[in-house]
Assembly symmetry: C2
Homo-oligomer: 92 residues x 2
Amino acid sequence: MTDQKLKELRRQIDRTDMELVTLLNQRARIVQKIGEEKRKFGIDQLDPDREKNVLAGIKAANKGPFPTDELIFLFRQLFRISIEIEKNDHRE
Amino acid sequence: MTDQKLKELRRQIDRTDMELVTLLNQRARIVQKIGEEKRKFGIDQLDPDREKNVLAGIKAANKGPFPTDELIFLFRQLFRISIEIEKNDHRE
């Protein structure tokens, strides 16, 4: 019976993970558009204030139980990856 | 005008980020329940096969443009954080 319960909870995790994959790809597509827009108008690639503000917003929005320091860590990684996605010219 | 376009794209990113924060916390609550269930029935904390299978599923599900290797990296971090969340007894 606890085995059933565990299986059901893991199914819930799997569904959440697929939603995360969808959201991360959705986010990556917006980042690509930002990159195209910046290239079109010769805008500088980076805006360090933007990153700081976004992190502050995330910190304020987090009600847990996900630990805030780990959330900030994950988003820093996401920013790093996004810079790579933004730099690539996908129009070709 | 491009400034307006950039602002709109960034607003879209912000909305996606808030959805990510919500999903990660939703996932953390399920992980807490799994931890409670395991403690209740004295089940071993870790299942390395489970992690391998989840990563394979994520790899197969990813259609891009988010790079698959970075997606796997992020999920590995998420597993590490989840083990910490699972270990903590939040019932006190």
